[in-house]
């Protein structure tokens, strides 16, 4: 007799929208405008939305970290800009070839493919990957397209496990029938489609060890849940996957991290986006995500006092403080999306007790405890943080 669950799949809000033609037409449009400028004797330039803290803000309405409208203008005829201007065009041409040929390249491949000595000089088009990566980010912001849509991918990280059918090119498979390792999330998930989904929600898990534990305990099957392991800070692929599963497939997102500032920050990134990728929040963040644990309340409720660890760094009331974990917690208390009673209480408690707690600490009870009691109880009772 299935229990009535607090968490269940909702109606989709977005549609699968990947279209390579959009990227190509944007590239051509920009190329044309440069050509027009130079023909009429004007100094050609690109307007690139500025990166960095100065150009991001928290949008209360969409509850996302968003990019401001500050632009930096990159001219050809400016000693400080000329090299980057050239690099921008090189990458644009490279992206055009990738997309029109339907091939993907990693960031590193994109770097090596475009690196060569400029004829007649001893200068290279790119001296190292730290030059090409930011140009690609510039293009994302300038064109309003994801790097993945430009067929440039980052290293893959994270995997999923659960009763969900995935179509990746010519392959179609069920992610609960791939063995205990699940399906590794690729660098780009734009082209991936989900013909069939038989889960009620997605549980995003910070550590691989905890995800493996849950799979072994058959948690996905029993709870009808999809496990998404982020393996630390969620990669862009994983964040995009979470976003798509939530908006295109209606899956509620529940996040399960360590009870420490880093875990909470992972949650914050999944939920509101990050400063670095603020321009992509629309596509990467999932403001409706909710947090299951670990919380400071869990320590008392489950009697985990002797498996906590001390916070690192110097507390704010001590000389030289705050540093380390204390400093991070204080910073997080300032985040607009943590401005609610529940979160402020959690963060204050952490400061007061000076402790942190790992997901694995639950094994102190028993190996099965997390899968049989902790998670089902909290999730089905809706005992989640916003």
């Amino acid at each position: 007799m299935p229990k009535r669950k607090a968490i269940h799949r909702e109606k989709p809000k977005e549609k699968f929208s990947y279209d390579p033609k959009k990227v190509l037409s944007k590239l051509e449009e920009y190329g044309r405008s440069v050509l027009e400028a130079i023909k009429s004797g004007k100094n050609p330039y690109f307007d690139i939305p500025m990166r960095g803290l100065n150009n991001v803000y928290f949008d209360e309405k969409s509850r996302l970290i968003k990019m401001g409208d500050k632009l930096s203008r990159r001219y050809f005829l400016n000693v400080a800009h000329a090299r980057k201007f050239m690099q921008t065009l090189l990458i644009m041409a490279y992206v055009k070839r990738l997309v029109s040929e339907g091939k993907h390249a990693s960031l590193r491949e994109a770097y090596y493919a475009n690196k060569h000595t400029i004829p007649g000089t001893r200068e290279n088009t790119f001296e190292d990957q730290r030059e090409s990566d930011p140009i690609i980010e510039d293009l994302e912001r300038m064109l309003g397209v994801l790097r993945e849509e430009m067929h440039i991918t980052a290293d893959r990280r994270g995997y999923i496990y659960g009763d969900i059918v995935i179509r990746d090119g010519e392959d179609e498979f069920n992610a609960s029938k791939l063995g205990s390792g699940g399906w590794a999330v690729p660098g780009t998930v734009e082209h991936i489609q989900f013909p069939e989904i038989n889960v009620d929600y997605a549980l995003v898990v910070e550590t691989a060890a905890m995800a493996d534990r849950l799979i072994e305990e058959k948690f996905p099957k029993k709870e009808n849940a999809l496990i998404i392991a982020t393996q630390g800070q969620a990669s862009r692929g994983v964040r995009r996957l979470i976003h798509r599963l939530h908006y295109e497939e209606g899956l509620p997102i529940i996040v399960f991290t360590d009870g420490d500032p880093y875990g909470w920050y992972i949650y914050s990134t999944i939920k509101q986006g990050s400063i670095n990728l603020a321009y992509l929040s629309d596509k990467l963040a999932t403001p409706e995500a909710r947090f299951v644990g670990m919380t400071m309340d869990d320590i008392k409720r489950y009697g985990l006092e002797n498996v906590t660890e001390k916070l690192k760094g110097i507390p704010p009331n001590k000389k030289g403080g705050p540093t380390g974990d204390y400093k991070r917690i204080l910073e997080e208390m300032e985040y607009p999306w943590f401005q609610n009673r529940e979160w402020q209480r959690q963060l204050k408690m952490a400061l007061k007790w000076g402790v942190r707690i790992e997901q694995q600490a639950l094994a102190n009870k028993s190996l099965e405890f997390v899968a049989r009691e902790y998670l089902p109880e909290k999730i089905n009772n809706g005992d989640l943080l916003p």
Partner: protein
């Protein structure tokens, strides 16, 4: 004890030539390399002076032929006016016979011994007579072998021949045979000396044939023959009491007033009246007992308030009349004390700057020509300062030339001159060296002086250059001269700075332009991929754009400089 008469038996009156024979070192004949340079210097100087006096653009040829070990034949030939037959022994045989030694006149010659010293040096080292070939352009050429009779201080023609002169050649060629000298291409040698001479005398064409047969030509770069210097009267500022006293004894003028007006420059009848007032004022101030009041009066006098100072004394007209009387007495009756009073009053008075007609600077334009012609630099500038006086009422003038880059090797080179004559020795003790080193070159965009291709020439022009020693190779550090040299250098250096910063700016622009141009092929390739337009055309668009941008920039700069 020997009788006095016996002692005096051995005592001989030493002739000038005899003195020279024994003291050759004092006159520049010291060291094997330097002796040869001095010899050439005396001959070349004679040639230059002769040509200038005759208004002929000099054409001088120096030949050094090696006859044996430390044994050379030196030939110096010019296209000057030539020497009339009867003066040959006078020119080449008599020491201290020059006409310039006793006059207040700027001269190239340094000792008044000049070419006769060279003849003497040749004679005492090789025993050979000097061969002189000369013509004034009439129908005969005279060939004479000249020797000096050391005892009598007289020139003697040992052998003489006359030749027809069908082409009307004029000029002088002398051939000296010397031993105990050495030809070397060092900074003290003949080559370097002639090079420096050519720089300071751009109106002269100078050639040198070295012992190995190599011909070196320092071509003429200016057609303008400088006018010969004229005699000058001393300027009142800075004359010493002794000068005034001695001159007063010698003068043929009737009164002190006439003497002052006649024998000094910049003194007029009116100035003498003024002088009377100043002397009277000084006498009166000396009677004041309160030191403070005295100081104040001196100060006011310095400001030129002589009349007001006089009026502050009761019965001052009496003193003025007394002084006025002094002006009307014969100059030989002038006392030392009175001469002192005159010199003291001069110090408080204002005079026009000393006349420049006696000084013959090379001139900014000719310095530039000389430096350009010989050194082939990329930048050259010259500064000729207005004449000044240093103590003794001796006018002097400083000029500097600055050459940078081009064929000049890197490293700082100082070329020193006194009255256009290159100074090759004792650079360290010379005021020019001190002044050049005292300048903060970094301020003028010369960051490392010893690695910059820079030549600085300094010419100190004066009727009396204060040398440090008998060698006359180094100028004494007189404050006024030191300061003038510094001012001249700084002025020239400022122009160099302007040039260098302009050059840096232009270089910077070229570099900038290249920065953009080097990216064009890459940009064209990428844009061609993006737009489908041919690469070649896109490249052209970009290059044209860069070209027109920098062309308009240059135009702006030119109009700014105009």
């Amino acid at each position: 004890m020997a009788e006095a008469s016996q002692l005096f038996k051995e005592f001989k009156i030493q002739s000038v030539s005899e003195f020279f024979r024994r003291n050759a070192a004092m006159l520049g004949y010291t060291g094997k390399v330097r002796s040869l340079t001095t010899l050439v210097h005396e001959a070349v100087t004679n040639s230059l002076d002769a040509c200038e006096e005759a208004g002929i653009p000099p054409y001088i040829r120096v030949e050094i032929e090696e006859l044996g070990r430390e044994h050379y034949k030196v030939v110096v030939e010019d296209n000057g006016p030539g020497i009339p037959e009867k003066y040959i022994t006078h020119v080449f045989g008599k020491m201290l016979a020059g006409t310039k030694a006793h006059r207040n006149i700027q001269s190239r010659g340094q000792q008044g011994i000049g070419i006769s010293g060279a003849v003497m040096f040749a004679q005492i080292t090789s025993g050979k007579a000097t061969r002189v070939i000369t013509s004034t352009g009439n129908d005969e050429i005279i060939e004479a072998w000249v020797k000096i009779d050391v005892d009598k201080n007289e020139g003697k023609i040992v052998k003489k021949e006359k030749h027809p002169n069908p082409d009307g050649w004029h000029g002088t060629r002398i051939e000296l045979e010397v031993k105990n000298v050495k030809y070397m291409r060092s900074k003290q040698g003949v080559y370097w000396y002639l090079k420096l001479t050519a720089i300071a005398n751009p109106h002269a064409h100078i050639e040198l044939i070295e012992p190995d047969g190599r011909l070196i030509v320092f071509p003429r770069s200016s057609e303008e023959v400088p006018e010969p210097p004229v005699e000058m009267k001393p300027h009142p500022k800075g004359v010493l009491t002794d000068d005034v006293y001695r001159m007063a004894k010698k003068t043929k003028r009737q009164t002190v007033r006439r003497f002052l007006i006649g024998e000094f420059s910049r003194i007029s009848d009116k100035k003498v009246d003024e002088l009377v007032e100043y002397i009277a004022a000084l006498r009166l101030i000396k009677t004041v007992e309160d030191k403070k009041v005295q100081e104040q009066l001196y100060e006011r006098l310095m400001k030129g308030e002589v009349k007001a100072v006089l009026r502050s004394f009761r019965g001052y007209t009496k003193v003025v009349k007394q002084v006025a009387k002094m002006m009307e007495k014969p100059p030989e009756k002038l006392t030392w004390h009175e001469a002192e009073e005159i010199v003291e009053a001069f110090k408080y008075m204002k005079f026009l700057a000393p006349p420049t007609h006696g000084l013959r600077p090379i001139g900014e334009e000719n310095i530039e020509k000389g430096l350009k012609g010989i050194l082939k630099p990329e930048f050259v500038t010259a500064v000729t300062r207005p004449p000044k006086v240093y103590s003794g009422g001796i006018p002097f003038q400083v000029e500097v030339g600055l050459a940078y880059g081009g064929e000049i090797p890197s490293g700082f080179e100082l070329l020193r001159y006194a009255n256009r004559v290159p100074l090759l020795f004792d650079a360290g003790s010379c005021v020019t060296t001190q002044a050049a080193r005292s300048v903060d070159w970094k301020r003028y965009k010369v960051d490392d002086l010893d690695r910059t291709p820079l030549v600085l020439m300094i010419n100190v022009v004066s009727v009396h250059v204060p040398y440090t020693g008998t060698g006359k190779q180094s100028i004494a550090s007189v404050d006024e001269i030191y300061n003038e040299i510094r001012l001249a250098i700084m002025d020239a250096a400022r122009r160099l700075q302007t040039y260098l910063s302009g050059k840096h700016r232009r270089l910077y622009q070229v570099k900038r332009k290249k920065t953009f141009e080097k990216y064009v092929p890459e940009i064209a390739r990428a844009l061609s991929v993006l737009t489908g337009e041919p690469e070649e055309k896109i490249r052209e668009y970009f290059l044209n754009f860069i070209e027109s941008h920098f062309a308009s920039k240059e135009a702006v700069e030119v109009s700014e400089n105009a």
